[in-house]
Symmetry: C2
Subunit: 386 residues, 2 copies
């Protein structure tokens, strides 16, 4: 292979960087350890999918019971992290930090306090992965409580993982339908092979660094608007369109707005995907569920979905670019009243299971991930020659 | 290119993952933006090299003066980060955190407080890179002060970057010779193309995430003993040898120890390199300087160097494996009385300039870094089929 041949694919597009038994992403399907995503979204719970990803097989009834109980019992976070979240309140208000930044720091701090933090092995990783999976929703919930200036809502062990996440954010126990929709969104977001954040976590783990460090780096990667940050950015774009053209979803005005965006060569968030060229298998699943909630809502959620659908139609017919899962996710979480800056943190609450599965897999058969670069800098010269 | 062909090089070994104008690493030379590493180690200061890497050219006299002043004036860190370092004291004592973990959290927290934290552009990156370069030694120094239970040693603007770093750690102004040796070690550690931590920082930055996040992830990667953590691990290995065979450096006992390690297929730290097959250009430079310090020392530093040289000789003659820069670095920092768990944080204090240069370069011409994986997991099956 010549260097030129390799560099034809910038950003490692289409390049196989390694093997995995966790996930297959391709044009016709998305598979988690042998199960198709639509099957899981229809028939499994997030707890079942988390077990599948982390442990490697579908849990038996007793395995699932023990696993769910273990997760639920580990939700509380140490007082030092709660203190930090309170300290971060003014930073979140001033905009010097967004929730993804605070989540990154909080997870790093959890690592500082874990008595098992320095152990690097698949077995130790699994234990820490379960704790992190249990604790991340609590960080998100408490952080939102701090932002809202309300009392910290303690986790409720009687609720499922997804229902408890919504409960801690809002202080209200969600309906079964809301709990199920967020549960499915977590299943859809849980894993996606060598995406940028997962790949970051594998590069970090491959130095034989620890899982908290690898997850901290992955959170930093997921924040970017070209990755997980797209679910917030997609919703912000819809807000901008409505602010520009008004609430009546006039198709002509939407089309004009889009044509202007095309003319400005603006990147429209929530569309396109590095791997999927004919659409993201997850998008339709979540769109359908989110729209069902919007149809029953008493506010103008449905109008937001209709705006999104119009934008989507124009992207598909004029640009042949399809929405990815972040587009319906933004609309769905908006319908559920979740504050926009928490959309990507909720993505973390799901993807932690995929990241951890990859870190475990990396540590189980490790080799340093260290590519080389083509030097295109100045010719050799002497420092003292001027 | 077939998938099989690509996977022959696991860990992306020898694979060109992108271009860079910052650094060329090859068997015959190590070049930072056109200048050879031995030339820089002989003739430049860390401040000059930091400017070269971050800005892209050798600084003029007035540019250097302004840059050095800017770095020196920005060394103080916010009270909230100092409070965090005090909170982390017991975690460092208990071993649930090592200094690299605390540095990772502190840098993440600095990002939370930077009013410019959300700006993602080469210009904004450069400003934040200078601040981070100035502040990282302060985090390290204050952290060591907390560990030692002494008063916080405030940065001294009259000292060079390297001398101030040593001063903050120890509370004593270093001799010119000590200051110069640590200065050279920072030059040697400043940059190394697509090493694992730099590559992590580029993968994170390529999602259009911010520089504090990318650096936080890079710190997590550098911690690993297959990467920056090797300078601590190398010194710990020498301590273990001495503890096993005594202080007299008996060549026969050293050889027996090494042969046992070979028989145990033990990985000996500070030796070998993914890219360098005939030795690391930096190792000899630092070994010579460190040994000169050891020769003048009144303690048994020279005996440690002699032990290291014996180990090195056996590795070279019996295994044809050469020391990398981490091997003499461990011995050199040990000679200077720096606590072992701060060796990798000091590596960070140097490499921050290389990471930042790569993040700036990535953001200047960005494309998402997102490879694919070969799926080797189970065949497709149905969730409800048992």
């Amino acid at each position: 292979m010549s260097a030129t041949a390799e560099l034809k694919s910038s950003g490692l597009e289409g390049m196989i960087a390694g093997k995995t038994a966790i996930c297959a992403v391709n044009q016709t399907s998305l598979i988690y350890r042998g199960y198709e995503i639509a099957d899981l979204a229809e028939n499994a719970t997030f707890e079942e999918v988390a077990f599948l990803l982390l442990v490697g097989h579908k849990p038996s009834e007793s395995e699932l019971k023990a696993f769910s109980k273990e997760l639920a019992s580990q939700r509380a976070i140490p007082g030092a992290v709660i203190d930090y979240l309170r300290t971060a309140g003014p930073w979140l208000k001033s905009g010097s930090a967004v929730p993804m930044d605070v989540l990154r720091t909080a997870v790093s701090m959890l690592g500082n306090m874990d008595p098992n933090s320095q152990a690097v092995s698949p077995e130790a990783d699994l234990e820490k992965a379960k704790t992190l999976t249990a604790q991340i929703p609590t960080i998100i919930g408490h952080m939102q409580n701090v932002i809202d200036g309300r009392e910290i809502v303690k986790p409720d062990e009687s609720l499922s993982h997804a229902a408890n996440l919504l409960y801690m954010i809002t202080g209200e126990k969600p309906s079964d339908e809301h709990a199920r929709v967020i549960d499915v969104s977590l299943i859809l977001y849980a894993e996606h092979d060598y995406n940028a954040s997962t790949f970051s976590s594998r590069v970090i783990a491959a130095t034989l660094s620890d899982i908290h460090g690898a997850v901290t780096g992955a959170i930093a990667a997921l924040k970017g608007p070209l990755h997980g940050g797209a679910n917030e950015a997609a919703m912000e774009m819809l807000r901008e369109i409505r602010s520009d053209i008004g609430k009546d979803n006039d198709p002509k005005k939407i089309q004009d707005w889009m044509h202007q965006a095309f003319a400005d060569k603006r990147k429209l968030m929530g569309f396109g995907h590095r791997v999927y060229k004919n659409g993201d298998h997850r998008a339709g699943i979540l769109h359908k569920l989110g729209r069902q909630l919007a149809e029953k809502a008493t506010d103008d959620s449905l109008a937001w979905f209709e705006l999104g659908e119009e934008v989507q139609k124009i992207m598909e017919t004029e640009k042949n670019i399809y929405p990815n899962v972040d587009f319906p996710c933004g609309l769905t979480y908006f319908t559920m009243g979740i504050p926009v800056p928490q959309y990507t943190p909720i993505f973390v609450a799901a993807r932690i299971t995929g990241w951890a599965a990859h870190i475990i897999e990396q540590h189980a058969n490790n080799r340093l991930i260290r590519p080389i670069a083509e030097y295109v800098g100045p010719e050799l010269k002497k420092w003292n020659d001027g």
